[in-house]
Each structure stands twice: as structure tokens, then as C-alpha cells.
């Protein structure tokens, strides 16, 4: 299978790989929203961590990904796109934009869906930790 140059670039030089602490540490931090989506038995797990300030702006984003090259590229790209955005802006990112940017073939569309899900899931976690809009949280969760 031939990968697009952009997928290869993200695979070789992933942007924003990392985390803001161990799973236990970030669970305690109110300024960090954590999204983990996918499952090992399906061959993809994406973890997205967002550091969000009191104005609701995503100051920093870190990802980790167990998955194929397209999954790694999708999550790497997602971190690039959402850094500096407000939470509401970040929620407007659609998987189709990721598909287009990375020229993902049809069999890899699920990678972009997972990336979109990870954004929603991380923001939902942040809102839950900060007691923001239970309905909004429920809405975000309903996407899974």
C-alpha cells in the first residue's frame, strides 16, 4: 500500500508526541482533558491529552498512538490543528478534513474517525473534571 507523503512525514516526524504525566497524574489534573479511544484488539488506540486554560483555549496538545501509519498521522495532525484553538473551535474539526489533508484511502477512514473521537473525548473529560455543562458532556459522549 502506498502512503501519501504527508502520512509518511507525520510517521517519521510525529508532532507533539507525549503526555503531561502518567495516567494517574493526568487523572488528577483539572487543566488536562484526556481522551483514549479505540481498542488494542482492533489494532488502534489513540490517546489525546489537551492542556486547556481558564479561557477555554487549548494551550498544548500531546498524543500517543498504537496503530498503523495512517492512525499515527491522523492523531499527529489533530494535535497540530487544535493547538491554540478554543474548545468550541476544536469541536468543529471533522474527520473528513483529516481524510482530505492526508489523502487517506477508504480503508483508512476509520483512522480519521478515531482522531475526531479522541478530540471529543478529551474535551468531554476536561468539561467533566471542571463541572462544565453536563448536557454538553452527554452530547459529546453520545458520539461514541
Amino acid at each position: 500500500m502506498a502512503y501519501s507523503d504527508k502520512v509518511i512525514d507525520h510517521y517519521q516526524n510525529p508532532r507533539n508526541v507525549g503526555s503531561f504525566g502518567t495516567s494517574k497524574e493526568v487523572a488528577q489534573r483539572k487543566d488536562v482533558g484526556v481522551g483514549i479511544v479505540g481498542a488494542p484488539e482492533c489494532g488502534d488506540v489513540m490517546q489525546l491529552q489537551l492542556r486547556i486554560n481558564e479561557q477555554g483555549v487549548i494551550e498544548d496538545a500531546k498524543f500517543k498512538c498504537f496503530g498503523c501509519g495512517s492512525a499515527i498521522a491522523s492523531s499527529s495532525l489533530a494535535t497540530e490543528w487544535i493547538k491554540g484553538k478554543s474548545v468550541d473551535e476544536a469541536l468543529t474539526i471533522k474527520n473528513t478534513q483529516i481524510v482530505e489533508e492526508l489523502s487517506l484511502p477508504p480503508v483508512k477512514i476509520h483512522c480519521s474517525v478515531l482522531a475526531e473521537d479522541s478530540i471529543r473525548s478529551a474535551i468531554a473529560d476536561y468539561k467533566k473534571k471542571n463541572g462544565l455543562g453536563a448536557e454538553q458532556v452527554a452530547e459529546a459522549a453520545a458520539h461514541h
Binding site: 484488539e41 498504537f66 498503523c68 499515527i72
Partner: protein, 414 residues
Amino acid sequence: MAVKLPIYLDNAATTRTDPRVVEAMLPYFTEKFGNSASRNHKFGWEAEDGIDLAREQAAALIGASPKEIVWTSGSTESNNLAIKGAARMYAKHPEGTTGVCRGHIITALHEHKAVLDPCKRLQNEGFEVTFLEPPADGVITREMVAAVMRDDTILVSLMWGNNEIGTINEVPEIGALCHERGVIFHTDATQWVGKMPTDVERDHIDLMSWSGHKMYAPKGVGALYVRRRNPRVRLEAIQDGGGHERGMRSGTLNVTGIVGFGKACELAMHEMDSERERLLTLRRKFERELSERLEVVQVNGHAERRLPHIANISFGFVEGESLLMGIKEIACSSGSACTSASLEPSYVLKSLGVGDELAHSSLRLSLGRWSTEEEVDYAIQAIVKAVNHLRTMSPLWDLHKEGIDVSKIEWQTH
């Protein structure tokens, strides 16, 4: 010494044609180009001589008589002819009889699709098939077969060496059991013949498939051994026509391919013993060094009972397709779902009870006649580097390092 890239470590998928094989074939394209069935001129006789020699070479490699070799297009066809041909010939009731079992067949879940799918088709025709579940080490034993054998069992089809994990079934023992019980025994020996000593008499084999392109002959040519004495095995043909191959497989013979197949058998016969030792040493080095240099590495299949050329290794918390991407100068294959159209990880590893996650994390590295120690060393370096790179990105690796059992987490699956 600098290694030439890319490195080919996918010899279980196909092999390079040996130049000596190509050389033997060449005259049959342009000079001795006759149809071996043309009985009344030189061109036909020359082609027939080529076929006869190849039949002797193939038979010699497996301890058979030349009359027991049926030429086919490869192992897929040989398996189809053996399994469907024997089942339909030895069926207990005519086709179309509903509600009664036409005969019982035994095979296993980790067989090649070219065995499983013919068996499934026979199920639709009224045969009952037992698909044995392999144990964790992947080896099917005589006892396992004996435990499911019935009075109406007509056919047992079990491969000799597995193409994904290289495990070796107890073929001679199972063959002996079949002969004691009057059951026809077929083995798909595609990955075995030419690498391991084979004697259809000693090993109690009735039907055996193998393929040119797995042993340094070209693609599109294969053979089926069909026993002629004690017992004489009969097959219902699948492809009808001019009655070639004693009516079992009609169609003008692929003379060039068959000549190449014969030559490859002859070469294998002479070089097998030294080659086997060499490949085994290389495979062991691969497995040992990767296990030493990396954590959470699992060599799949039985520790000892494995073919010399196939290593199947899982690297925990690293997904197989991304690993292949990281070692793109090494041609090999992965049991990951992503490398197939199905999105399912390898059914062979799954049948052994290897968890889906480790199945997604597996590589199959298969060595061949031109594999060198330098190539193996290079591949080891490249794999270690790629696994380490991917683990720095893997959320599962972090969880593992934090002491969390990843298999116990409840994942939100889609």
C-alpha cells in the same frame, strides 16, 4: 560488507526463481516448444522428454514413483483436486441426497485458505467437516486426530509445515493412524517439501500438494502426489477435457514451468541438508537477538517443532503495519489486520489463542536460499530501532510501564 537494499525476507510468500532453474527452462520456450501430448513429431517428443525427466526429479525428491505425480498450476489447485476429488470419489451417498452425511472430513483451523475453503464447499455438498482447534503451540498431534475420527471419516487433510508460524504437525504419525483406519490422508506440504526430508512411503501419505514458487521454481506450476498402491487412491477430476494426467487434470501441460519445477526438485534434493542447517542457524539468531534486545517479544508457535525458514514474532504494544512502515527496506509480512482487506488480524494466530492485540503486533520473517547473515543482522537492527521508535509513541507501552495490565482494561470498541 554492505547489504543490498531492500532485503527480501518473505520467502514463505514466494521465492526468487533459481537462475539454474531458469536456464533449464529456456530451451523449452523457443526450441523444444512442442506440446507434450503431440505423439507424432520431434517437437512433441522433446517436450514429453522434458516432462518425463521432471516427473522423475519430483518423484525422487519425495520417494514416490513418477507415475504418482499429477501436474497442476500450484498448491491451491493441488489442494482443491485432492480434497474435493477424494471426497466426491469416496462419498457415501450420491450428490443431492439430503439429510444424510456423505462422509466426514478432518482438517484444522490454522490450515491455508486453499484447504479451508474447499472443505467449506464440501460442507455445502453434504459432507461433515471437523475443524480441529490447534493448541497454543500450533502442533496437531496423532492423538488429536484420533479423538475426532469416526467410522464414516473418509479424508484427513492436515498441512505439514504451517505457512505463517512454521509449526510442524505430526504428519507421519497421523498418516499411520489414517492407514490403520482406512482413511485417505492428504497433506499440504507447500512449505515443507524441498526443505525437509520427505518419503511418502515412510510417512504414510496418500495425497500431497506442493508448489514451484515456494522452492525456487516459477509461479503457476505445482504438483499433487497421488498414491497408486496400498491403497490406490482415486480422484474425481475437477477440470475435464483432453484427459491429460490420467484424466485427473485435463489441459495442455505447462512444459516450461514443469521443467523448471523438476530442476528445482533436483537442486533441493542435493542442497537440502546443508541449506536446512544454514537457515535454522539464521532463524535462531533472529529470534534470539530480537528477544534479547527488546522487551515483551513473543516467538509464536512451538519452540522446537518449526520449519527452518519461518519466524513469526510478536512485539507487544506495537502495531504490525506501522512496524512494516518503519522497516520499509525489509520485505516481510505482518499478521496485522491492516495489511489485509478484512480488518481482521491473522486467523492463524487467533486460532492458536494468541490475543488479537499480539496478533496485530506480529511479523513473519521468512528466509531463503539467498538470505545472508549480514541481511539478518541488518534486519535485526532495523526492527529494534523501529520497535523502540513506535513504543515511544505507544499509549499501551506507557500503561504497561506503569504496571497496568492492558488486557484487563475495558476498551470502548466501535
